[in-house]
Subunit: 158 residues, 2 copies
DNA sequence: CTTGACCCTACAGCTGCTGTAGAGACTAGG
DNA sequence: CCTAGTCTCTACAGCAGCTGTAGGGTCAAG
């Protein structure tokens, strides 16, 4: 193991390897204030302790679950006060779960429409392509009002 | 109806209303070369014909279905030659459908994990919050390898 | 002492737009 | 004809969440 001479510090590359977060991304997180700037070596290189690795793992896991950096920022702030209520944290998680469900629903509708469109296309000239026809004319579409409803409504009233 | 004095042309606002694509977005599409620059009035304002409205509807519908601007650009290029084979168009649609299926799968895994995490959290002090615990320690997570597999692998080997 | 892997900053670019500022064009009413 | 109000113009900055580039400096091993 190369980090022998300093048992409690690793460079940014070590942190990257330990956490699975890329070096550039770690620096980015520091630049936006998501993590605190670490101490530096005499030569100016960042040195991270074990706590930093844990925090980076936390961030990575939360990102993998699709949480926004803002949500993660909030979670970090909430978790720093161990005596506070867990309700806020719970709420962030619930809101995110709801958002995921919403996205699944929408994607499923899109999937159905794409499949329908693809099945309709069995000719071999572009001029007769059903995919293009469906795309060109919403009325040929089985899903009546997919898309952002605001704009759909505005478009409807000619 | 205000567009009385010119039966075959409308301003950018009219196109926006007819297509459901915002004015700024239309200008953006022109700036990236997705649509051709239209003729201008003497005063320099854009004037669009019926064909432009159709093309914008096509783009909007494709965007609503989640296709990328690059994919749409390709579809437009392919559709301009009516004698070509429809296979490429079909392939773009199929690739997109596959991508949608992939995203649904991943989101479903995330949904399960979020639900599991939320259910585990029934205490009321942050110090004992299971949500934070799960986020902090991947080993407490039921889903073994969610997230971007490249980095996961690199992270695995300590 | 050199090599090579690593690290530094600063900034531009990615997608698909949205928002702003400050100006000019057009239309309806008086 | 003037004015008010709505629309449109360009140019550029900003959003998330990074990634990539240029042009250097640091550090440990051989």
């Amino acid at each position: 193991m190369p980090e022998r001479n300093n048992r409690r510090a690793t460079t940014i590359g070590g942190l990257a390897r330990a956490s699975g977060v890329k070096v550039t991304t770690i620096r980015y997180y520091e630049s936006i204030g998501l993590v605190d700037p670490p101490d530096r070596s005499e030569g100016g290189q960042r040195l991270y302790d074990k706590g930093a690795i844990e925090r980076m793992n936390f961030i990575r896991h939360a990102r993998d679950l699709g949480l926004s950096l803002d949500a993660i920022r909030e979670l970090i702030a909430l978790s720093s006060n161990k005596e506070w209520s867990c309700a806020k944290i719970d709420e962030i998680a619930r809101r995110h779960a709801e958002d995921i469900r919403h996205r699944i629903k929408r994607l499923k509708a899109l999937e159905r429409e794409m499949e329908r469109m693809i099945k309709a296309c069995s000719v071999d000239k572009v001029a007769d392509c059903r995919v293009l026809a469906v795309l060109a004319d919403h009325d040929l579409c089985a899903t009546p009002n997919h898309g952002r409803s605001e704009e759909s409504k505005r478009a409807k009233r000619r």
